[in-house]
């Protein structure tokens, strides 16, 4: 099974971010758009991680 390091990194990062951010997102006095900020952050990291896979050939 060939899983790139970047995929594993993304997997780990997403999981850790999810654990850390659950409380922050659900604070009652927090802004309503906090989940979207977390989502955007993960997408940015994903864009960075997938950048190096462009050299892969199928």
């Amino acid at each position: 099974m060939y899983i790139t390091r970047s995929t594993l990194l993304l997997l780990m990062f997403s999981y850790l971010l999810f654990l850390i951010s659950v409380d922050w997102v659900s604070q009652t006095d927090g802004a309503w758009y906090r989940p979207f900020i977390i989502g955007l952050l993960i997408i940015l990291i994903a864009a960075f991680c997938h950048r190096e896979q462009n050299s892969d050939d199928l």
């Binding site: 099974m1 060939y2 899983i3 790139t4 390091r5 995929t7 993304l10 997997l11 997403s14 997102v25 659900s26 604070q27 009652t28 927090g30 802004a31 309503w32 758009y33 989940p35 979207f36 989502g39 955007l40 993960i42 997408i43 940015l44 994903a46 864009a47 997938h50 896979q53 462009n54 050299s55 892969d56 050939d57 199928l58």
Partner: protein
């Protein structure tokens, strides 16, 4: 605010016309390909997944579940964010084997037509409600805006337009395997419209409803219950189950499978989609909450699902109402088109073709095209009937969930397909059937009949999903472990599994050439289709029509199966190819195919890291060593197939590795095929200096071989032969030349001895003849004595030449070393030659640069010049010219003698310096002249070159060029200088 039907109708019609135009413009090439084939278009087309559930149902979900409404968006986004784990490997398989649907993929992996049929049926049952849902959403939104109009009429018009669009742009070219760029562009446009519509509605809601972002926060502070509801954690497990459902839907929903894998034109586009599509869904989900809150704030009476449409009405904005309506229309239309296209392919391949196939007399492409069109029409109208018939219209959320839960049952088989080669057909089918049964009884049945079985028992939807999935997985694993897997299925599993490189290496096709392929396939497909498919496969593989190598034919067979799979589905294609293009020999399972292993490693090279990367580097190094080895290396696999052919081998034989790799030994051109085959089958491990005739030239080759035995361990199953070819031609020729030189040297020594022995009697004969000449008065006797003297003179000259030749080069110290003026030497030579009264009328042209000097023996240089000019004389016709010139080139004196004679033929050019070689008549030349010249020139540290223009028809001539180091007093060693003076 209400609208009349005609305005909505015109708006809808204009929108559909726009879709038609975009698709048409793309297909006709009016839009540049750099736009239509841009990866962003592919990403936007994938936005088709966001159908009415994201456009309409999301607001209701947000109200009920708070942030739980994000679960579907997160589920599908995760599938793309981690595309290297699932989507990318499946893309590779579907591209390689032309699999157009999940049913194709599962039928291919589990080698079972039944797997394809059951998958199609389950997806059909699961997806039809989704189709009707889209129709219902459009009809309901119209009813909301124009309450007096007939929803049914508009639904019929909508369905008709969608049917026409799907038929025109989804089945345009007939074969069903090509990308539909017009369709993709139109769907991408759909996605842009719905995103812009939702974003516009979100901004409208924030600024019109609340006066800005701060207004939203202020209003939320006054709604503590709503705020708490949004941020309250969802019921345990519900969020995760929904996310899992939508994660699976990336592969298990027909429309997403179709868009991701069928319409992909570049694997890199999927890499872009890995993050760009989640971004799209993020942008799509963000405006949902402001829209919901704005609707709640204004006290909208519309159902929660239709807030995107009703918002404009509630705030008195016609534009935003129409924007909301258009967004909903785009969300529904895109999904219906793609879903029907995907389902039509599946139904055709797995429901119709297994029962009824066109005969060879039919035009198969046309037959398939019309069946596909009929299926598209049927599917859309079945969706319509499903919407139209039930009196009690179900909520959007219930229908959506029921549909997607069915697709969740495919998750175990999809994961097993990539990561568990042991999973087999029986396990898959049993798990799927039981899981689907649970789903049908407890979820689908209540939707269809209204009888809610859940009320009887105390379980909810989430638990049913968990139970059905768990049962599916347990049965799949247990039965797969307990039952046997067929060899054919194991081969497919190996192809799909990511962690194995085992392949079945089979050889010996019955058909031996592409022509025979066509001939064999004519029976089931008809001549026209068979020819077209075989030629297409040859074009795909860039293989020549004359190709006969087994490796290439195996590739052709595989490609044909893949192409036919795209046309008829994998089950029928596999069956057809197996029946009409069978293998004659089937090697044991588990043997490795070196090409496949190498290709896979090359393809995944950028993914290798750490130890794997080191191993790959080591492999490449060893391979390079073998390729660059200065000995010819040829490695043979099973059935004497050539596995390796290194560079030295290609140079030696003149056959490139591309020509022979994969071929059998007997396919190689002669004489190499016979040589290697004979050596391989023989018992000798070494053969020394085998002579071959290659292009009329002799070659001497030594051969060595080593047998690669099958290892006792399981890991090495490769056997074969390694053959080394050593080219000894040059060595052999050098040896021959040496032998020849030795022989000549012996003759020379012999001749010198003979000359010495002959010299004395000749002198005696000459003296006696002189006595007779001087002492007799008999004229006749005197004449005879003169003739004897002439002949003895001639004999003496020959003998002297022999002696000179024998002594030349042997005693350098005896030669004088003096300063010789070249011009004087040339003039003296011409003067000497001019004394010969029998000479021809030759014009001597001397162009010698004055003052040129060399260091050497003047008498020997004179002899060289006399010999060369004499040779030129002999070769020149009467009246021609001989040019003698000398010049200074760099630090050398170049002396040339040029005649206008017949030149030296190519055939003898290599031999003219050989002793005793002459072209003159017997008795006219000794064959020692040029040998002597060569020897003297070498002794004088000079160099001799002969340029002959014998190939020129007119005035060919020969030029002999002598090059000597120029005399320069300053550079002369002290000893030499004094000697020279």
């Amino acid at each position: 605010m209400t609208f009349d039907l005609s305005s909505l109708f015109i708006l809808g019609l204009c929108y559909m016309a726009m879709l038609f135009f975009i698709a048409l413009a793309t297909d006709r090439g009016w839009i540049p390909q750099r736009i239509t084939r841009h990866p962003v278009v592919y990403v936007l087309a994938l936005g088709v997944f966001a159908s009415v559930w994201s456009y309409y149902a999301a607001t209701a979900n947000a109200f009920r579940d708070g942030f739980g409404y994000l679960a579907p968006f997160i589920g599908i986004s995760l599938a793309f964010l981690f595309s290297p784990l699932m989507l990318r490997p499946i893309l590779e398989i579907t591209k390689s084997y032309q699999l157009s649907s999940l049913a194709d993929l599962l039928a291919f992996r589990y080698r079972s037509p039944a797997a394809g049929t059951i998958t199609t049926l389950v997806l059909l049952i699961g997806v039809i409600p989704l189709l009707s849902l889209q129709i219902q959403a459009v009809a309901n939104s119209v009813a909301l805006l124009a309450p007096d109009t007939s929803q049914t009429t508009l639904a019929i018009v909508f369905c008709s337009l969608i049917t026409l669009f799907a038929i025109f742009f989804g089945t345009g070219r007939g074969a069903g395997r090509e990308r539909h760029e017009g369709l993709v562009m139109a769907i991408a446009f759909d996605s842009v419209v719905k995103l812009l519509a939702l974003l516009a509605l979100g901004v409208f809601a924030i600024y019109q409803g609340f006066g800005g972002f701060s207004g939203v926060d202020d209003w939320l502070q006054t709604q503590p219950e709503l705020l708490a509801n949004i941020k309250q954690p969802d019921a345990p497990g519900s969020f995760h189950v929904t996310a899992l459902l939508f994660f699976t839907a990336a592969v298990a929903s027909p429309h997403m499978f179709y868009m991701i894998f069928n319409e992909n034109n570049d694997p890199k586009a999927l890499t872009l989609a890995s993050w760009a599509l989640p971004l799209y869904f993020l942008l799509l989900s963000a405006p949902v909450l402001p829209i919901l809150w704005a609707g709640l704030k204004v006290g909208s009476t519309a159902p929660l699902e239709f807030y995107p449409v009703s918002l404009g009405v509630d705030y008195g904005s016609e534009v935003m109402t129409l924007v909301g309506f258009l967004g909903g229309l785009s969300a529904a239309s895109g999904l219906i088109i793609v879903i029907t296209l995907a389902l039509s392919n599946m139904c055709l391949n797995h429901l119709i073709l297994p029962i009824y196939q066109p005969t060879a007399r039919n035009d198969i492409y046309r037959w398939l095209l019309w069946k596909r069109r009929a299926l598209i029409t049927a599917l859309i109208w079945i969706g319509f009937i499903f919407y139209f018939l039930p009196d009690d219209k179900l909520s959007i959320r219930a229908i959506g969930n029921v549909s997607y839960i069915a697709s969740l049952q495919f998750l175990p088989s999809i994961i097993a397909l990539l990561y568990w080669p042991r999973g087999n057909k029986k396990g898959f089918l049993t798990g799927l059937c039981v899981g689907v049964l649970i789903w049908f009884i407890f979820l689908m049945f209540p939707v269809l009949t209204g009888v809610n079985l859940l009320a009887v028992s105390d379980i909810n939807t989430r638990e049913i999903v968990a139970v059905s999935l768990a049962t599916n997985v347990i049965l799949f694993v247990a039965i797969s472990l307990w039952t046997r897997t067929s060899a054919e299925e194991r081969a497919s599993a190996d192809i799909c599994a990511l962690d194995t490189i085992r392949r079945r290496n089979r050889t010996g096709l019955v058909a031996k050439s592409p022509e025979e392929f066509i001939e064999k396939l004519t029976k089931p497909l008809g001549e026209r289709t068979a020819s077209r498919e075989v030629l297409q496969a040859l074009r795909d593989l860039k293989i020549d029509k004359q190709e006969k190598r087994p490796y290439a034919l195996r590739l052709l067979r595989g490609r044909l199966e893949a192409n036919l799979s795209g046309l008829l589905g994998p089950s029928i294609a596999h069956d057809l190819i197996d029946r009409f293009l069978p293998y004659t020999i089937e090697s044991e399972a588990g043997t490795t195919d070196v090409y496949v292993i190498e290709n896979r490693i090359e393809a995944y090279r950028s993914n290798l890291s750490g130890m794997a990367e080191d191993l790959d580097n080591l492999r490449r190094y060893h391979r390079q060593v073998l390729l660059e080895l200065p000995l010819g290396v040829c490695s043979l696999g099973e059935q004497n197939q050539i596995v390796m052919w290194n560079n030295a081998m290609a140079k030696l034989t003149g056959i490139s590795s591309q020509e022979v790799l994969g071929a059998q030994l007997n396919d190689i051109v002669e004489p190499w095929g016979t040589l290697i085959e004979g050596f391989t089958s023989g018992e000798a491990a070494h053969v020394h200096k085998r002579m071959l005739q290659v292009k009329n030239k002799r070659r001497y080759i030594s051969l060595h071989k080593a047998i690669i035995e099958k290892s006792a361990t399981h890991k090495i199953k490769q056997d074969g032969v390694v053959i080394l070819l050593e080219d000894l031609t040059e060595t052999e020729l050098l040896e021959e030349e040496l032998t020849h030189s030795e022989r000549l040297a012996s003759i020379g020594r012999l001749a010198a001895g003979v000359a010495h022995e002959i010299g004395n009697p000749i002198t005696g004969i000459a003296c006696l003849a002189q006595n007779i000449r001087d002492e007799t008065s008999n004229d006749e006797l005197r004449g005879m004595a003169r003739q004897i003297i002439e002949q003895t003179d001639r004999t003496s000259r020959i003998v002297q030449s022999l002696v000179n030749f024998a002594h030349s080069g042997s005693n350098k110290a005896d030669h004088n070393s003096e300063i010789v003026t070249v011009e004087e030497c040339v003039n003296e030579a011409i003067a000497l030659i001019s004394l010969d009264k029998k000479r021809k009328e030759i014009n001597y042209k001397v162009h010698c640069k004055a003052g040129l000097q060399i260091l050497g023996d003047s008498q020997r240089l004179l002899q060289v010049m006399v010999n060369l000019i004499n040779n030129a004389n002999d070769a020149s016709p009467s009246g021609s010219s001989i040019t003698i010139s000398s010049k200074l080139v760099s630090s050398s004196v170049q002396l040339s003698v040029t005649d206008e004679g017949s030149g030296i033929p190519e055939a003898i050019r290599d031999r003219i310096f050989d002793p005793f070689f002459t072209t003159k008549e017997p008795g006219e030349g000794t064959g020692l002249g040029l040998s002597l010249v060569y020897s003297i020139v070498e002794n004088l540290n000079g160099h001799i070159d002969i340029i002959s223009a014998s190939s020129r028809k007119e005035n060919p001539g020969t030029r002999v060029i002598l090059t000597f180091p120029c005399y320069d007093g300053a550079s002369l060693p002290a000893g030499e200088f004094s000697k020279a003076l």
